[in-house]
Amino acid sequence: MAVDGMGLPVTPVRSAGASAMLEFRGVRKQFQDGTVAIAGVDLVVVPGKLVSVVGPSGCGKSTILRIATGLVRPSAGVVSVATDRVGYVFQDSTLLPWRTVQANVELLTELHGLPRDERRRRADEVIRLVGLEGFKGHRPRTLSGGMRMRVSLARALTMAPELFLFDEPFSSLDEITRQRLGDELQLLYLTHGFAGVFVTHSVTEAIFLTGRVLVLSQRPGRIVGNFPVQFDYPRPPAIRYSADFARLASEISECLRRGEQ
């Protein structure tokens, strides 16, 4: 793979033999201006499992993901990523406004130099998966926020990621769209079986989608809560309103409140 010309990212240590897909040990990040974004975070994501990270805004949630991708270099600690196929979904859909839906979905395969037929084949498949077949020729500005996020998910899926990093992907959407996309993302997870870190400030979203919820404290962020989620997949949409769900949500919210102090 080509060496990055910008000299920006430092690829994290990749230990292919490890059983974890992603592992943080004592990872700390202090920015140049002196702010400590995260202070000693330990985190393990095993293949095929989703872990969510919730925390107050500005607690370094995104920094964790940026460190995992290599966009940001940690000040201390060890990061290991066991795969080259990392998908990243940004807070904003980050579509290129001059490209159609089809061309946007083909962007990553294009950057990786895949042949045209293969790009087309993969794009067709994922566009069908997110239900946007009728919109291939549309430009992003003519789509709703939810549709744009679907395009963004489809784009990431073209590289068949083994590890998916989600940076508050649904935070700018309305509640109904957010829930629907949560349902759809669960389906994608169940069919593709990727491992992932889901960063969010919505406790409901975290519980609904993932098998473990980590609570991050106020900056400098450290993990102050670790809640396994026992519900079996596939989880029906209505599970969000069950008593067990509500109990777990209130425990996590309580932990969040304590972490903010």
Binding site: M1, A2, V3, D4, G5, M6, L8, P9, T69, G70, L71, V86, Y88, F90, Q91, D92, T94, L96, P97, W98, L107, L108, E110, L111, H112, R139, P140, R141
Partner: protein, 269 residues
Amino acid sequence: MSPIRSRLGTFGPPLAVFLLVIVGWYGVSYLILDPDRRFLLPPPHAVVLIGFLDPTNLTELLDALLLSAAVAGTGLAIAAAIGIATAIVMSQAGWVERSIYPYFVVLQTIPVLALVPLFGFWLGFGVECRVLVCVLIALFPIVANTLFGLRSVDEAHHDLFTLHRASRLTRLVKLQLPTALPSIFTGLRISAGLAVIGAIVGDFFFKQGDPGIGILIDLYRQRLQSEQLFAAVILSSLLGVLVFTACGWLSRRVVGGWHSSAMDREAMR
């Protein structure tokens, strides 16, 4: 609203102003000016009859206009090529920008037209020299706007390209240049107007060689041929309007499908 009424709403008011100006013009020509001073503002129909409908005069005017348009167009094209290329190089290497950007600012602040006699002194007063004036006058807005456009790429888009190990060239071609297109067109539009001004006002200093429309304007003024003078002024203005409109049309054709400000302008029309 019905289509006819909405069209009336769009074209009605400016048309009314136009008629008002024509009426005012006649008023000044016939009511305020004595017949022996009427040459200062000849009535509109005289301008049309003598300036535009007399074949000899019209040919002379159109030939000159064509020359000036060619000078402005060539100058603009060269300025665009040099300006965009320079901005790309500056965006790729900070030291290049630090070395030459100050001189572009200086170029912008010195009155290029004041240098025209000097250029004529060096290069003669042919078409090449007139083109050079247009290039110099049109260069800075293109450089500045292109550079701004290349710089205004969203941070998250850069991250996306970094994550997928895009090369510098790929990043430039697939991300920075498309992002910069609307700004490049803004620069072109400003420079197009400047190039026309450069071609016409530059003529005042040459007064030699094939006449551009500026030379004719000066000539008609000296000979007190005010009908032709007005016709020449009107044609020069039309050239400016035409160039400006053409740039806007091109901009909408290229980026109108996705760029919001181009779309908004479209919506307001």
